[in-house]
Point group: C2
Chain length 397, copies 2
Amino acid sequence: MTWVTDDNAALLTDLYELTMAASYHAQDMNEPATFDLFVRALPEHRNFLIACGLEGALDYLERFNFDDEAIGYLSSLGPFSDSFLSRLGELTFSGEVRAIAEGEAVFAEEPILSVTAPLIEAQIVESFLLNCITFQTMIASKAARVAISSKGRSFVDFSLRRDHGADAGVKAARAAFVGGAAATSNVLAGAFYGIPVNGTMAHSYVMAHEDEEHAFRTFMKDCPQGTVLIIDTFDVEEGARRAARVAHELAPQGIELRGVRIDSGDLANLTRSVRKILDEADLEQTKIILSGDLDEYQIERLIADEVPVDSFGVGTQLGTSGDQPALGGVYKLVADARGPKMKLSTGKGTLPGRKQVFRVSRNGTLDHDVIGLEDEVADGRPLLDCVMKGGRRTSPP
Amino acid sequence: MTWVTDDNAALLTDLYELTMAASYHAQDMNEPATFDLFVRALPEHRNFLIACGLEGALDYLERFNFDDEAIGYLSSLGPFSDSFLSRLGELTFSGEVRAIAEGEAVFAEEPILSVTAPLIEAQIVESFLLNCITFQTMIASKAARVAISSKGRSFVDFSLRRDHGADAGVKAARAAFVGGAAATSNVLAGAFYGIPVNGTMAHSYVMAHEDEEHAFRTFMKDCPQGTVLIIDTFDVEEGARRAARVAHELAPQGIELRGVRIDSGDLANLTRSVRKILDEADLEQTKIILSGDLDEYQIERLIADEVPVDSFGVGTQLGTSGDQPALGGVYKLVADARGPKMKLSTGKGTLPGRKQVFRVSRNGTLDHDVIGLEDEVADGRPLLDCVMKGGRRTSPP
């Protein structure tokens, strides 16, 4: 399998970054330059974003290098001079990074990350930094919306199967956790990041047994810790009654039915019926977990309708940020050795200079931000911190 | 950095797959079972899908294993018995895979992939297979739509910066190529898969020079092979005139201006003006490349309006399948030792049994498909081929 790893991540860039770098090399243009990574405007249906992805970006920068295999491939492409290729072979990232902390709210035009480095380095890392930061910021932002709509109920990231590839699987779980998810179903994300992992059972388990009640009994016996039964393989209300019967049968053995999950159908009405069935069976403590292509809008409606749901599994819409599956992050030259820089393309202008974002609160909540120059004095808490100097983190991850 | 690799990919699964497997282990339930991976219905705005992702899926299955670190992590979670963990430690994938070839059109209910394996193995691989196949199939399908709308003009994958993480970056480039892209800007995808890589220049290059004309001159001299200049950093028409002047100045040195790229503004009218400027400067052979959040609809309109464009760079909308960023693939138990199986959940029923898809053509084009049982005799070309037996590919990748 061809996996992106520390050994080849430097090649995960757009060809033009290297072509431009080759020209900078030929021209001996390598003075420090500052690039800001930001979104020009908030996407539709987003009033804020949650910064995420910084740790991965810093890992990448600390380990940035082109190994012999990478140089060999670049050489095979033709246009690069030996002088440039041997320069690349020795290149590491030696610059400075200022960034807004993961988990902070960010808004349009605010640099989530600002890189100051010799021009060649600063240019080549563009594509990776955009890929890393904008994707994770988008997912953390979606998760924060789900958290707000859940009004204190917990939700779990169920998105792995619909995430865009393997790296998205683990990073979406992490970003969802940064944005407010309580746990993830993704085991590797648990192993990588120490996120709580959580799971129930699938329809296939029920179908692999001769009948639903037998499946429930077997699963509760074999997995007695915090068991959640899925009750919509055949008929939800019948499933709830079977789950209740099995729960009573196994209670004397100390096995508790923690919850039931409903994954299809008219969730609002089914949840009400199931709550009634469980309560009438003296299973008031058994939780109801809902899943099935949920998003923040459906969750908000379920809660507004006082549906007696306890928690949510949120998959596709969370892990792909379904209504806004791309965040238009950009990485723009804002200063170089000759001073502040700005671009004037139609609708794509940039604010020049090295910046600071000052966050002003009133009565404990965010009131407004001021985007100023780095050396300005302004009210408010400065959000951009120096997190990397000379290519090394200023504090451990 | 925490990267998904062959060493840890077995953990890239939902916890419930392992919980169910633990119960199957406890019950000694491990007879062969067949799971079909398919979409229940085509998404809106899709009349067909292009199968993609099989090679990555087979790589994963061939190398499937839980190493000591993985077992150690699973042990730390608590609920798994030592007997189950030592079973996992020895587990490989020993099953059979039948699949539709990458690049084939597929439709609703048709198994893109069908796994027959001992129940425990078949269950644990579900999450990865869905993640791998549905994402890449979605991107290849989007690329095919872009290819159709481009009517013979070429397009290049520019999506890396907006793809969902690093693995999505390389896999989207590959899937776009399967679906009809001519090349990718993604260097690592070129190195991994031998896809042609292609690039132009960025606004930041222009801004790093004292003026646009100087930037153009330097870039053409330093990168004389197939140079494409970006002309919308300041004013597009002025940019085109400057590009033309520099092209004439450098022509005596044998340096040719292959193309200009416009990335913002009113693309239709700007392209017409730029074509006129280039033609009047005797640069009829210089191509115009358009980019800037294009999708198949915009491309179709540009071509219907007879805009004199030569090729396209397509990024965000291609690499995220922007209008349909998730494909509702499912992986369902359809047969086991006791025979065919079906699920009856509301709106989520499944067709039981091991299947074959027969493709019937009329006059050289696809007329219809018949989904039958594997052992049925029917007209048409059978699409599902046995690609893995006993956990090994039936032919090299």
